[in-house]
């Protein structure tokens, strides 16, 4: 039981520190233009990496191809037809659920 609480405390404190580091270090200072330019490109870089890792990531690392990929493909189709966010997410979940139910 002690090991559990040590883990919870260590992970919690480390994560809180990581999340707060940016705002505590930078404060309300304006970053140099090049740094600001890089940060404005963080969203596309990380979102693309998150799409890849959430759709293809295996539970212990590596790749795992499963119904998530069918869900993502359905979401892409919905996006082409300019569906709203709620519909895109719902279509993805419903497609993945359907593929799993049929498999």
């Amino acid at each position: 039981m002690t090991a559990v609480w040590v883990t919870v405390a260590a992970v919690g404190l480390a994560t809180m520190a990581i999340k707060a580091a940016g705002t505590l270090l930078v404060g309300d200072r304006t970053l140099p233009p090049r740094a600001q330019g890089a940060l404005e490109h963080l969203a596309p870089a990380l979102l693309a990496a998150l799409v890849v890792s959430q759709a293809l990531g295996g539970s212990g690392g590596g790749f795992a191809v499963d119904a998530r990929l069918a869900g993502l493909a359905a979401a892409a189709v919905a996006l082409v037809f300019r569906a709203p966010l709620l519909l895109v997410v719902t279509v993805a979940a419903a497609t993945a659920a359907l593929v799993r139910a049929l498999a």
Partner: protein, 224 residues
Amino acid sequence: MRHPTRPSGGPGYLDGVRAAAPIGIAAFAFGLSFGVLARSAGMGRLAPVVMSLTTFAGSAQFAAASILAAGGGVAAAVAAAVLLNLRYGPMGLSAASTLEGPWWRRALAAQLVVDESWAIAQRDGRIDRHLLVGAGLLLAVGWVGGTAVGALAGDLVADPASLGLDAAFPALFLALLAGQIKGRSRLLAAIGGALIALALMPVAGPGVPIIAASLACLVGARRS
């Protein structure tokens, strides 16, 4: 940089709540399954809820609980979770300029940064504080509430995967990514991020591909 006067048409906290609602259901379902997994991993009832409240990052919590359950030890569990959460360093830095108030308020608001709230709060290459806080609070309520129900009451619903809810997350990120691709340099950053993640996923441990992919943002450091 502060925004003392927001344009009256700017988004408010409720817009963030509304934008996060579709993914809030998935956050609750996965919080539920984390509560169930953590309890079966011998974490008890209270520790999983405390962890969801303080760590508030799904993948790291699942990793830590699984490693503890497999007898991997405290050091391995903490190392894996911290590695998975390193991406919140650059994410927090990109949110830094929009948070307001004394240091403790900014540090508190930064705790609401998770992948989904950070992604939803993107506006024109910057983070919108109202969207971040609104979306983050809704996701926190879903995640912590789900964990509490799962740890106390056990499995109430089916496995989230059988409902396809694990496919909701990549779909959300793809939808938000589509809105981000404006101009060549952002497209390059997206392609770079995806390629770095793809290249590292088979060889590096979980967490490493994502934090390495954040380096693709450097294509934006060339000018402006």
